[in-house]
Every structure is written in C-alpha cells, then in structure tokens.
Amino acid sequence: MAFDIFHRHKLTISGTQAQALEMARLRLIWVGMLMMMGYLAIILRMGDLCLLHHKSTAMLMGSGAPAETERPLRASIVDRNGNILAVSLRMASVYADARMVHDPAKLAQELAALLPKQNEADLFKRLSSGKAFVWIQRFITPKQEYAINALGDPAIHFQEEQRRIYPDANLAAQVVGYTDVDSNGIAGIEKFFNKRLAAGGKPLRLTLDVRVQHIMRQDLAAAIKTFHALDGTGLVMDVNTGQIIAMVSLPDFDPNHIGEATNNEKFNRATLADYEMGSTFKTFSIAAGLNSGKVHLSSVFDASHPLHIDQFYIHDFDAKDRPLTIPEIYIYSSNIGTAKMAESLGPDYIRDFYQKLGFMQQAPIEVPERATPLYPSPWREVNTMTAAFGHGIAVSPLHLVRAASAIVNGGILLKPTLVMPDNPDVPPQGTRVISAATSEKMRRLLELVVASGTGAYAWVKGYDVGGKTGTADKNKNGRYENHANISSFLGVFPIWHPRYVVLALLDDPQGTKATHGFSTGGYTAAPVVGDVIARMGPMYGIKPRMYITRDSIEKSMKPYLKEYKEGQALASVSTDH
C-alpha cells in the first residue's frame, strides 16, 4: 500500500512537498487529457470514414480498381442511328529481342509456319540482326498468339495494341477517314477529331445514315458504270439543319487495307474537289434576281441572238430565238437569258450575292479536306455574265448543296455539319440570304424543271421532286473540252415543304443508246437522284402526295409559259446545258 502515493488520506505531507505533489498531479491530468483528445480525434475520423464517406474509402483502397495506365481505346465512330462505322479493338502484336535468339534459322521457320503473312528469309534477317527490338508481326489473332506463346522462346514478347476496324469497309471511306498503324487519325473525321477520339470515351455520332449512304453509293456506282464516267460524287443534306445524311465519293477504298488505296480513291470529291457546275448555278443567279426586286417571274429577257462580249460568245444549246420569261429561261436553261438578267442587276450584284452564299471561301465542315473555291479576280463584267450560268467559278459539291439548301428552306444559309449536335432541340443558327417569298418562287421554278423540263428523269410520283440539271464543259488546262462534261443534278424533295437536297455529279459520262448518245445531267445524273429519293422517301416516312401531276404543276405556271399546251411536256431532257 505504500506505493499508492496519490492516496491523500494516507499521507500527511504538508508545506512545499504537498505543493510539489499537487503540481505533479495536475501535470499528469493535462497529459492524460491531451492523450484522450488524440484518441478521440482518431475515433471520430474512423467513424467519419466508415459511416459517412464510403466512396472515398473505396478510392483509398486503390489496388482493386481497373488498371488505367494503358492508353484508352480510341472512341468509336457511329452513324446517326448508332451503327458502328469505326471501332478500336485490342489485339496482340509480337516482337523479339534479337540479342536473345539462339537459333534464328529454326525460330524463323517456326514463326513463318504460324504467320502466313511473313516470309521466312525476311524473318531470319530480322531475328539475326542482333537488335534489342524487332517487330515480327503487328496485330495477330488470339489463335496465333497462343501458338507462338507455346513455342516458349524467351526472345519472343507480346505487346497489346489497339487496332482500328471499319466494319462497313468502303461505305463512307473518305468521310470517316482512317488512322495510321499507331491509331492516329490522318484523314477525314478521324483526323479532324483525333484528340477527342484518342481520349476514348463516348462514341462520336455522325449525321450520316448508313442506309442512305448505301443507296447513294449503289446508285452512283451503277450510273458511273452505265455511262463509263471517270468518277462521281453524291450528297444528301437536310435543308433545315445543315446535317449531311450521305456523302459519297467514287472511286473509294477499303480503310481496313489502307496500304492498297490509291490517291485517286482517297480523294474526297464531295468536299475537296472544285467543279465548274454549269446550269445548276442558274438557280442562284435567278434567286439573286428575284430577291433584288428588279426581276420578277414575268420579266422578259431577249434570247434571240448570241451574246458577244470581249472575245467570248454566249449562246444557247437549244436556242428558242425569242424573248423568254424567267421560268422559261430556267426550264430551257438559257445561257443568254441568264447572262442578260445578271447584267441587268448591276456589275457587283451577282458577285456579292455569291459571296453571301459562301462561294468565295471554304465551306465549314468537320473534315480537314476542304476545297477553296476558284473565282476570277479581278471580277469583270464578263465574269458576272458567265458566273450567272456557272462558268468561270468553281466550287465544291458541298458548297452547292449548302447554297441550294438556303434557296429552298426559306432563305437561311446554314453551316453544314457531319456531327450530331448534343442538343437536337436547339434550332441551328444561320444567316438570311434571300427572303421567304423568293424561296417560295424558287421552289416553284425547281418543281417546274422536273415536272416538264430538263429534270424529267428525276420525277418521282408522289414526292414532287424539284431540281436543276447541270452540264458543264470540262475545263482542262484553261481550255474547255467540248466532248467532256461534268454532268450533275441538284434535287430537292418534297418541294412543297423541302426536307432534303440530293446532289449527284458525274465526271465525263459517255452517252449510251438509251440516252440517244447524250451525256447531259438530265440523262445521267437525274435518274440517280430520282432513285435515291424514291428509296429514301418511304424509309424516312415522308407521306407522298399522289394527286400531284406534271400537268397540274405546269398549269400553275401557265401565265409565264408561252409554249404551254395541256398534256404536253415543254422541253426535252436532251436540250439541257
């Protein structure tokens, strides 16, 4: 009991000794309290971690979480309905440390037996090179990986790599683009969105529809074959949103075997090629005239004589030799009439209008392959007249469908896009280029061309297609060739409330017996557009209007048509230029 020094009652200490003991006691209490507080803090923190912060504890554990050190798989590219256009998969690649190889000849023989793509002599060369790292083959199948692993050679190693697969092969080859062997995008969407795709994550959703893309590609390929054309391109654009539904350029290639593709096949004609479009441009010059207020549907321009300016002659291919109204100029595709109308607007009006339509700069689109238009500088009077019927100015097919969308959608020029917007409810922003009233008049003119003019082969019963043919002489080294054409057809449907612009363009088509030897846009490109619309309309659930007939359309324009006779077509397809 003597040890119990703190038991007050058993001790009779007083004075300085008692004071010292009291102090020691106090100090012990302080130390004890400090310790208690420390423990309390630990207890509280543990309660906090266990009961309140489950998630942070899970993160602290760390080791069980998936390994994120590898490069993420490149994000997929899908079409507007979620069909995969490009996807990355993990595949094994096999390499060797040539310093560790004991018997290169034997190993080369064994590997060559397992890898049919490899040549034994070549493998031997690499395996006996003495280098620390030589590729044997990149992207092998799991079966091959298993078999090579079973060889048990210590010099052989595997590396997991990602490989880009394009399940639809050629379907949208130039638009989607392709990557190099290290999965870096080097063309098309793959290049434009390389950073976003390389970071992995959600698939990139394009506005393309593989079904429409397929239809356009099939019809265009058939037309190229029938008319022995060099190449061709086709576009379908939603006129109200600027979304590209289909973009085809032929010939094309299989991006899964990019090494075999030629530059001609890789060339995206829809966005990167400049063409003198010819008569389809009359759509824009006449829209400019109607929008200026100086020209009306009933305005008459004398097309009786060819025009002669400087050293140029402007003449019509199916000369009517009489004054023509605006609808007549348009459906007979009169160069003289269009040139005179353009002249009447003043020297800079057409140029400024084309500038507003975006014909003087690159069209904004999400691929790096964009064409810069070619136009005369300085712009002289003769340029106004030729540009009015689509000569002396060259733009890409994308420029053409973009501007045509603005002409028919009520007058708003939109930014063409290949990527689905995050929020589809936000209406796209655009700039007004013509009034709604002018747009309405242009739709009636476009309708008339297909109902009874040069675009007759694009007629689709029920869908009331509007459109304009174009046949331009091909310009080779500054000289126009008489027998080589760029034939195109620019279609719009349904014309009573336009939703889509469809363009087909063929380079140097040859006439056939069925077309009486003609290779004009009305004979070669218009049937492509007609067929695309006939197949696409029901697919998109667009209700046809079966009661609309060609004659009813002509009748509605009767006051402007001198040659109108009931039940008789106004112009033949062959006369187009």
Partner: protein, 166 residues
C-alpha cells in the same frame, strides 16, 4: 489477478480475432473485386468485338443481298402509301338476319374477322381511280449453300443465315 484484468484480457483477444477476421475478409473481397474488374474489362472487350461483328453483319449491302435471296419483300414505294380515307369500309352486316343477305356476307368476309366488326384493313384494297404500282419483286436466288432456298418462316431463314455466315 483481478476480475477486471481478466475481462480486459478476454476483450483484447476478442478484438484481435475480430480484427484478423475483418482483415482477411477485406483481403478476399479485394481479390474478388480485382477478378470482377478483370472480367468486366474482358466483357467490355467482348462487347466491342461483338459490336464490330454486328456492324459487319448488318452492312446494308449484305442485308440487301440476304433480303433479296431469302425474303419475299421489296423496298417500299411511294405508291404503297394510301390515305385512311382511300380505304373502302366494309359493308355493314345486314341488321335483319334475312337469309339471302346472310349468305352473301359469309361469302365475302372470312368468319374469324366478321364478329369483330372492325375496319377491314386486311382486305385487299381497291382504289377508286388509279391502280397502285406493283411492288418491285426480286427473283428468288439460289442460297449460298447451293440449295434452292424457299425459306418462308423466320426459323428457316435464321437457320440458313447461320450457314451463310463466314
């Protein structure tokens, strides 16, 4: 030894056992988590592979070829759309059960549909003024396996598809 010491000793041993048990459990769970994460990664990779294969098999060109070969169907044409007003209504069955009209009604209308008294959508449509254009009909082609495929029901189609793949 005091009673309290014994109590503390028991408590300490108990805590020790509980702690060991918990730490073992955490260890096991961690291993399970790692395994699950690995299998999730594997499944994700499989999904990607299957997605790529699905896209490949659903290539529009291939689907079109298969549809032409095996199905008695063709793309829809605009002429196949009709307005609801253009569909002629079935003549109302006679109110009085007169034996003569009864006979005619039975002849024209199939017995299963008659009692329901609905608009006769199933009946072939006859338009008043114009004939609908006949749908495009594709020729039947021989199946890739050499047989003459006239598969009409879904199961047969699926069976023959499985043969056609690869």
């Amino acid at each position: 030894m005091r009673k309290s010491t014994l109590l503390w000793l028991i408590l300490t041993v108990f805590c020790g056992i509980a702690l060991f048990h918990t730490s073992q459990k955490v260890h096991d769970e961690r291993a399970r988590l790692a395994a699950l994460n690995a299998s999730i990664a594997h499944e994700k990779q499989s999904i990607r592979v299957l997605g790529a294969e699905w896209a490949y098999l659903n290539n529009p060109r291939r689907l079109e070829m298969l549809a032409k070969t095996y199905l008695h169907m063709a793309p829809l044409s605009a002429a196949q759309f009709i307005r609801i007003d253009d569909i002629p209504l079935r003549a109302a069955p006679a109110a009085a059960p007169a034996p003569q009209t009864e006979k005619i009604a039975v002849k024209k209308i199939s017995p299963e549909i008659q009692p329901r008294k609905i608009v006769a959508l199933e009946r072939p449509v006859t338009m008043k003024t114009r004939k609908p254009a006949p749908p495009r009909i594709f020729k039947k082609r021989a199946a890739p396996d050499g047989g003459t495929a006239t598969a009409r029901n879904f199961r047969d189609v699926m069976k023959s598809l499985r043969l056609g793949v690869e």
